[in-house]
Amino acid sequence: MNHLISIDDLDRAGIERILDRAESFAEVSGRDIKKVPALRGRTIVNLFYEASTRTSSSFELAAKRLSADVVSIRSAGSSVDKGESLRDTVQTLSAYDPAAIVIRSPYAGAAQLVARWTDAAVINAGDGKHEHPTQALLDVFTLRQRLGSLEDLNIWIVGDVLHSRVARSDILAFQRMGASVTVCGPPTLLPRGIEALGCAASPTLDGISEADVIYVLRMQHERMQESFVPSLREYAERYQIGLGRLQPNQLLMHPGPVNRGVELSADAIDSPQALIGQQVKAGVAVRMAVLYELLAGRPAAHMAVAA
């Protein structure tokens, strides 16, 4: 595997293998010395055109725990802001001979383009509203740790699906692992034709009591201004997941950061049914596994491959 651009780059066996390896890396994260020398001396560049604390620090830590050298470039204050094109930025970075480039961009297809312009392994940390494959992997990992398998699980993804790359990657990943998925949200925020991805779609929460897992998406305030929903109050009334709506056996997930009181009530966030903390923890181990999968077994351009 050369890059991780989309969840479609991985078949079920590939996902299982990465998650098995993530378990080993979870063990490493439990040690005092949370490092292994696997990627020692390799350079990993994090190119983040979108603000993000969660994902960027997770990738940074993953790279460092594999003993790699990390360069993090955030768009604020960089040459990017001064109008340097994505292509020129990637070409400048090639001077560091990076083994991998992790890219997050507000535009779909950015990771794919970067892969055309570099010999490094490219990891998509979120491209526009298209995909966020490592998030999907850590979501599957979290469920696997908790339930053993996703086979035959009934998973509901609730919220602003239209603008969610997490939803798109999760729909594909959950189904690949044997679960069935229903997306649910205000009709203005459910993409027309989303069923083509294999999931069901519902404009109301009716039937959610049948779900084993409820995956809640962040509801951004901007959507109110753009008239996708008339008001916060109406959204919360119709779609907020609180302990009142949650069955005792249902698990709750969220990609973070949570808008308390909007898509999730405070009591739901803090309940033992919520796996949000485990998701964050899983993030580093899963990203270590992805980096390992792409970079171990990948000689530098100048190295001859031994027999």
Binding site: V28, R31, Y292, E293
Partner: protein, 191 residues
């Protein structure tokens, strides 16, 4: 193609391990700085370590701690091995006891270039500071590429580079046997 030659059968393996267990206990009298612990290298070294652990526990009190290390992340040849070809071993590294001040006995099935043992030592040192480290192997086939020497050897087996030593254990392969035969694939960086 010459067939594999059996150098140790089930009974031979058992007797060899019993002897090694006695040697370990003899060389590490109680009271010497550092109580011993046994650490097996995944995967077959771990199987043998478990057996040595049982055997040594019959000989001394208190029970010797048992641990395992998976050296995948410490190998020196990572760039040459495609991870998608190797299925990861889950829960592979388990060192649930404090390493500081211990006499660690590393256990592996075959000692060859010494690189695997080097990786295992590096990994163990990431967990703490042992008082000393010893090495027990079922077979020493020569061709060292690093200054690594075993403290306990089951059998010395001079081999050619184009040969392969196969250790089979019940827990993984379903039968017990050590054989020597032609190499199955082009030589890679080996143990």
């Amino acid at each position: 193609m010459s067939p594999n030659t059996v150098v140790l059968d089930r009974d031979g393996m058992r007797r060899t391990l019993v002897r090694i267990a006695h040697e370990i206990v003899e060389k590490n009298p109680p009271g010497e700085p550092g109580q011993i612990a046994i650490v097996g290298i995944q995967r077959r070294g771990a199987v043998l370590a478990r057996r040595l652990h049982t055997l040594t526990s019959e000989l001394i009190e208190p029970t010797v701690p048992l641990g395992f290390v998976d050296i995948s992340f410490y190998r020196d040849d990572l760039r040459l091995r495609d991870p998608s070809n190797a299925a990861p071993v889950v829960h592979a590294t388990q060192l649930d006891f404090p390493v500081d001040g211990r006499a660690i006995v590393i256990v592996d099935d075959v000692l060859y270039t010494g690189r695997t043992v080097r990786a295992a030592i590096d990994e163990i040192f990431d967990f703490g500071r042992p008082a000393r480290v010893q090495l027990a192997v079922l077979v020493d086939r020569g061709h060292r590429e690093l200054p690594i020497r075993p403290d306990y050897v089951g059998k010395n087996l001079p081999t050619a580079q184009d040969q392969r030593v196969n250790v089979r254990v019940e827990e993984i392969d379903g039968f017990e046997e050590v054989t020597i035969g032609p190499a199955a694939e082009p030589r890679r960086q080996a143990a």
